[in-house]
Amino acid sequence: MDKPSFVYVTYIVTTPQKVWDAITDAELSGAYWQRSNVSDWKVGSAWTHGFAGKPADLVGEVLETDPPTRLVLSWTPASQVGNPERTSRVAFDIEPLGEKVRLTVTHTELTPEGLKDISQGWPAVLANMKTYLETGRPMPDAFGGIHG
């Protein structure tokens, strides 16, 4: 295994299936992640991450799937398709722990440019997923936008 670039962990009071759905369902992912994850989630299938009806921002392939506990994706910014150096790899591990679920996101094979793109994003996505699954609503200002 390559040394991971980043490892993010969050504990959510929910079930593994709900975390799985939050990652893989287009409507649910759009609710807390701004953009939607779309695929049939079979190994070898394409997946995309983007606003509904717009060109995707991220694209990749489903590399490994074991619902509802493990999902591994390749991860390429849409503008970098065809540039293998900018393809990284993201693993979601979902483990039940009593009434909670431990969600670990392991991002590997990131170049320094890729690192810059994503290191700001994951903490907001995971904190917002947690709030969404525990309260049914996303956090206000989860992505720190300035209003007005």
Partner: protein
């Protein structure tokens, strides 16, 4: 939930532990030995501090062969930020946005 947040703030209330987090931010995925040699702390002290940080979920670990790699996990800090700071910033950000709109509007007025 409150217990989780207590653990985060208690873990952060120590200069050595903050130094460990700073070092993991600069260089993610270090072993206990690497951290101890860089920070002029005994292995035992680093190990105890890492245990507190792990319990607060501020450090995540990955096993690679015989090695245990340590990563800064910023998710709880982000939650604390969203819980308090983002909420208090909003009126000021709104005021700034309104000011900007007024000044830019005047330019063209």
């Amino acid at each position: 939930m409150t217990d989780d947040m207590d653990r985060v703030f208690k873990a952060l209330a120590d200069a050595s532990r903050r130094a460990l987090l700073d070092d993991l931010f600069r260089d993610p995925g270090q072993t206990l030995g690497a951290l101890a040699s860089r920070l002029a702390m005994t292995r035992q002290a680093v190990s105890q501090h890492l245990a507190v940080l792990e319990a607060a979920d501020l450090v995540a670990t990955v096993r690679r062969g015989r090695e245990k790699l340590h990563y800064l996990n910023p998710v709880p800090i982000h939650e604390a930020h969203a819980r308090w700071i983002a909420k208090f910033e909003r009126p000021r950000l709104d005021a700034l946005a309104a000011l900007k709109q007024r000044l830019e509007g005047d330019d063209h007025g």
